[in-house]
Amino acid sequence: MAIPGGDFSQFDISKEEKDKLVAEVIRYILFKTHQNSGCPIKREELSQLVTKNYRHRSLPAYIINQAKEKLSSIFGYELRELQRSRPSSTNQTRLSQQSGVDAKSYVIISQLPAEVYKKYVEDVNTSHMTGFTFVVISIVQLAGGKIASDNLWHHLKRMGLHETNENHPVLGNVKQALEMLVQQRYLQKDKVSGPEGATLFYELAERALEGTVSERIKQYITQIVKKDSTTEDIS
């Protein structure tokens, strides 16, 4: 059985131990993803599962790669790596530390074709969040990738989503729903000090900036704008 990435015998662990580690990492990813509703998992957390009992320096990387393969072959999930490339201004002081540490995190994404996913897998009970996510990211993207909080809420208000609404029939607490997007790393918050004091900005974060996502959002926006030739401005 060809093992890409090198023979694990260099790590001085048996096949059973290796399999056990890989299984643990996969299980951690699956259970954690459920628990935190799809928020990215830090690479550190995965490495720790390995380094807890094994000292070899490059073992974590090997195990994570194997886990990636297995997640794909068993479940059809891609373990996508997100790079935290643009730390927000609130993290400025920690920037020097971060360059040495893996600021990588992971999410799992289905590898099924979109139509298949939509028809057989998608849970309609969560599609409201997907819709909300799409709308918010589109707004921020159209604003150039960064938008002031007030401005964002102004647009959301036009769709009946108010910052103070805790009982929206679909989204519940609307503010919390937006917070969820921050936790899932679609957005990040930024406090920018200006002449009037600090303003809160929302910026696209790694999950929304990731190549395929970004491209597709642009495509969808174009579709919507093209179709909607009768838009009126609601003042």
Binding site: A23, I74, L112, D123, N125
Partner: protein
């Protein structure tokens, strides 16, 4: 070395994202993606499941089937087999909520009349402190056990909300008469736990007889599920207790719509018996969070197919 194709992946992911699915739903997905009717191509369907389970075993998971104790409907789900450090993360419920759930399930399991449910009032009156007592197993005096504040302060409204969420997630269900019963997830996941808790098994299918008919003869401890009784009755025309030879009077359920075609589908696709299911702290083994199933049928608990109430006692 691609053992599983996108078709297998679709089946797995559908269960992970949508939660336990009825046989009908699951079969229809299978049929749609393979173009083969799982009824006529039972072999192919089983093949798929076998292949899937072989791969899933790598991570100690299992694709298995079970029957809803209240209406006999078959459900499929992906279940965790081993309770370990990782699976402890697999839940969004808090510690007191889990204790609450455990208390409910225990109460249902210990019901000697095999009704398989407890009434709403009893649920809301559950005191979590007893859970601490039970788990520590000692008989110390009151107040000296260090019961966590969260347990003591678990309010009625928190209980109601937790109950609601548990039903939504299918760990519990509302039975016909507004009682609380075990949900499909519990039946799938807690099989090992029920056995360990001493719930007598059904004589026919050997699964936990949470909601079952008891042998009418005094002192005989035999239990059989209503849907298992139906099967025997349709095969033999009479029901005789396997242990004490008493004849059971059997009333076919009223309002029977279409005859279920594949009566013989006892879940053969369950895991091979070589691997014991050991899901002890089962709630933590919950997979992807699920809300209400999108297929309304499974949610209304198939009222028309529901067997006669347990009030139609066997004489």
């Amino acid at each position: 070395m691609a053992v599983l194709s996108w078709k297998h992946h679709t089946l797995i992911q559908s269960l992970l994202e949508r939660g336990p699915l009825t046989e009908k739903e699951f079969h229809s997905i299978f049929t749609a993606i393979t173009g083969q009717n799982s009824g006529t191509h039972q072999g192919k369907f089983n093949d798929y499941l076998l292949k899937i389970n072989r791969e899933l075993s790598y991570v100690q998971l299992d694709l298995r089937a079970c029957r809803d104790p209240y209406d006999g409907e078959v459900y499929y789900g992906v279940v965790n087999n081993v309770s370990d450090e990782q699976s402890k993360f697999g839940t969004k419920y808090s510690v007191p909520q889990i204790a609450f759930f455990k208390a409910i399930v225990e109460a249902i399991a210990q019901d000697v009349t095999a009704e398989g449910c407890i009434c709403n009032m009893d649920v809301l009156n559950i005191r979590l402190e007893n859970q601490v007592l039970n788990s520590s197993g000692s008989q110390s005096q009151d107040g000296s056990l260090g019961i966590p504040a969260a347990f003591r302060n678990f309010t009625m409204s928190q209980k109601e909300r937790t109950l609601d969420q548990l039903v939504k997630d299918k760990w519990l269900c509302y039975t016909e008469d507004d009682n609380i019963g075990v949900g499909v997830r519990s039946v799938l996941d807690l099989r090992g736990w029920f056995n360990n808790a001493g719930v007598p098994s059904c004589e026919v299918c050997n699964e936990a007889g949470l909601k079952a008919k008891l042998c009418p003869s005094e002192g005989c401890t035999v239990r059989i599920h209503q849907y298992c009784l139906k099967k025997i009755f349709s095969q033999k025309g009479v029901i005789v207790c396997p242990s004490c030879d008493t004849q059971w009077e059997y009333q076919p359920p009223k309002a029977e719509p279409v005859e279920l075609e594949d009566e013989e589908t006892e879940p053969m696709q369950s895991q091979p018996s070589s691997r014991p299911a050991q899901s002890q702290s089962s709630l933590r083994s919950k997979r992807k969070r699920q809300r209400v199933s999108q297929n309304d049928d499974s949610n209304t608990q198939a009222d028309t197919k529901r067997v006669t109430r347990s009030s139609a006692h066997l004489r």
